[in-house]
């Protein structure tokens, strides 16, 4: 009887010690900006317990770094065999482990998926407020060579459920000699966005609301994206109209503009270069093709493009960079930071809307690209 009691006490103290360690790991991961940290034991080995850890980090735009950071912190706390599942808006993508400094990826099992599903909770996200400059410039008019519209968007992606978020914000205009929009404080882009995998490698996203680039309406995107493959394919359909804020009011044009685009993209992992072709109907019923050449660096993406459409031809470049200083305030439930994926595009031609789309920073085409695991060990 005594023996039984003793062993029960022993077992209890062991599990509480483990629970203590797990809590410590969780706290350490939250402290460096992780969210939705979901830890559960998978199996016991001679070296200790293998934990599955679901992680999401909205302040680091490179998933390979997210895995490396999570792994380093786990190792520091004595968790030597953790597996990490990368989450995107709470939706599990795939599993990663680090062996001898290199990241190996694999599919997670159905039971892992169930565990991640059960442990998910909206309260495990911080309120994430992002400072994002909005800079539109038109170069080249003789009378006023640099016409610009500059504002600062204070925005937040509020996660409402797994995969579902409401983005909203406040636009603080700074100066505008580009168009007739008023220089008053106004509502920033505000839209619901639902991202979900349909099946393995198949993803969709549906958004409704007032988008970036003064478009409002509905936006649907589907993408076939094998995370360890090289080829990915996509389709996007959007029905939108134009909106803007003249003095003290809001103006909506009718929702009649159809954007119908197919996309084929191929990755050269060693060079970290993607070649991407959009074809179909862009905004303003402009039909044609747009070819992209995109190079990935650790936290920066640089793209060169050429478009040939009914409205004309143009070339240009774009880049996505993290803005300094990054994190400004971080507490348990709140974070204020500058945009970690600020995107800006320059087009040689400033005549007409050649091959334009909208809300590009939110498209899964652009956001899943970095999750290709072939890139992970090549930075």
């Amino acid at each position: 009887m005594n023996k039984l009691l003793l062993s029960i006490i022993f077992l209890f103290s062991c599990t509480s010690a483990i629970a203590q360690d797990v809590a410590e790991l969780k706290a350490a991961l939250y402290a460096v900006g992780f969210e939705q940290v979901l830890i559960f034991p998978m199996r016991s080995t001679s070296k200790g317990i293998v934990y599955m850890t679901g992680v999401e980090h909205r302040g680091i735009n490179n998933p390979a770094e997210v895995v490396r950071l999570a792994n380093s912190i786990s190792q520091e706390l004595g968790f030597n065999q953790n597996k990490f599942v990368l989450l995107y808006k709470g939706q599990a993508l795939f599993e990663s482990t680090i062996e001898h400094q290199s990241i190996r990826t694999a599919d997670f099992s159905d039971t892992d998926a169930m565990d991640l599903f059960r442990k998910f909770s909206v309260s495990k996200y911080r309120i994430n407020v992002v400072i994002d400059p909005d800079i539109q410039i038109r170069f080249g008019y003789f009378e006023n060579p640099i016409q610009s519209k500059i504002g600062v968007l204070i925005g937040s992606d509020i996660i409402l459920a797994r995969g579902l978020s409401l983005f909203t914000g406040l636009m603080i205009p700074i100066q505008n000699d580009l168009d007739s929009e008023s220089n008053q404080l106004k509502l920033g882009p505000t839209f619901f966005e639902y991202f979900t995998p349909l099946a393995k490698n198949h993803y969709t996203q549906l958004s409704v609301g007032l988008f970036h680039n003064n478009r409002y309406g509905l936006d649907f995107e589907y993408r076939f994206f094998p995370y360890d493959g090289r080829l990915s394919l996509g389709f996007r359909y959007a029905k939108t109209g134009f909106y803007y804020f003249p003095d003290k009011s809001i103006f909506f044009d009718s929702v009649t503009d159809d954007l119908i685009l197919g996309n084929v993209e191929f990755l050269f992992p060693k060079e970290r270069i993607s070649v991407s072709l959009d074809f179909g109907q862009f905004l303003a019923r402009d039909q044609g093709v747009r070819f992209f050449f995109i190079k990935q660096y650790k936290n920066i993406e640089i793209g060169f493009f050429s478009s040939a459409t009914k409205l004309g031809n143009t070339s240009g470049f774009n880049f996505t960079i993290p803005l300094v200083p990054g994190k400004l305030i971080r507490s348990k439930s709140f974070e204020l930071r500058t945009n970690d994926s600020f995107r800006w595009e320059y087009s040689y031609s400033n005549e007409g809307a050649i091959g334009r789309d909208f809300n590009a920073t939110r498209s899964i085409k652009n956001n899943l690209r970095r999750f290709n695991s072939n890139l992970f060990n090549n930075y």
Binding site: I60, E65, F139, K298, I302, K327
Partner: protein, 265 residues
């Protein structure tokens, strides 16, 4: 002009004694001497480089509306693949009203042969014909780096730039054929890298660079140093008559830019 020139030269040379340099770039932001390019890499690490350089009016290149002026060149250079670099240049003449934003120029430099494998460095520059053509240049050039001692190496560069461009003729020329064709660059007032050019660069411990060159028009000298591993300073002596300078800034892209990653890379 004499005193500040000397002062700048001396301060750069003395700065270079305790800083490290990754090499010299020409006024367009390419690996090079002063106005001519060179075919060897500067830096093997992934980086993006921004540069501002100044050309005095006597050596100005842009002749917008048939007028010349002191010019600033702003350039961005990136090498997305080991064998090609993309260079984007914005030209802004000062003192000329109604210039718009300035002329934009894009070119590609292809690194075809390297010395390690082939004994010489060989490189070619291709400028696609865009609207403005003042610095369009299509050229091919070679070099070989030779060690003189443990701390000094020299790199002679020799090259040829096409004197013609394949493009549409000027609108006012009223030719029968207004389509794409080979046209002498001088028709557009472009004399940059037309013909044979060459130069010699002396590399002192990878810390200071001294260059002398013939750029098809003038003989120029230059000296450069890099400070804090990122900022490049260069002083040029055009035609052995006028002093000018350039400054560049490099951002390395192979390191994490995220503060949360500090200590965990």
């Amino acid at each position: 002009m004499r005193f500040p020139a000397k002062f700048i030269l001396i301060s750069i040379v003395s700065l270079s004694c305790f800083t490290s340099a990754y090499g010299q770039i020409n006024f367009l932001g390419k690996p090079g001497l002063i106005r001519i390019p060179k075919p060897s890499f500067i830096d093997k690490r992934d980086n993006i480089q921004f540069q501002a350089s100044y050309l005095p009016v006597e050596y100005a290149i842009n002749n917008f509306m048939n007028r010349k002026s002191n010019e600033f060149f702003y350039s961005v250079q990136l090498r997305p693949l080991s064998w090609v670099a993309v260079n984007f240049v914005l030209t802004r003449p000062t003192d000329i009203p109604r210039i718009g934003i300035g002329d934009r120029h894009l070119d590609f430099q292809f690194f075809i042969l390297n010395q390690k494998k082939y004994g010489i460095n060989l490189s070619a520059i291709f400028s696609p014909a865009l609207a403005a053509s003042f610095i369009d240049h299509n050229s091919i050039f070679i070099s070989r780096i030779m060690d003189i001692s443990n701390s000094i190496s020299i790199e002679p560069v020799l090259g040829y730039g096409l004197e013609v461009n394949f493009r549409e003729p000027p609108k006012k020329s009223q030719l029968d054929d207004m389509g794409y064709q080979w046209i002498a660059k001088s028709v557009f007032g472009n004399y940059y890298l037309s013909g044979f050019f060459g130069g010699l660069q002396v590399n002192l411990k990878d810390k200071a660079f001294f260059s002398a060159e013939y750029d098809t028009q003038y003989i120029n000298l230059g000296v450069s140093a890099t400070i804090f591993k990122k900022i490049g300073l260069q002083v040029n002596y055009f035609d052995l008559k006028t002093i000018s300078g350039q400054i560049s800034y490099k951002v390395y892209l192979d390191k994490s830019l995220k503060r949360d990653m500090k200590g965990y890379e």
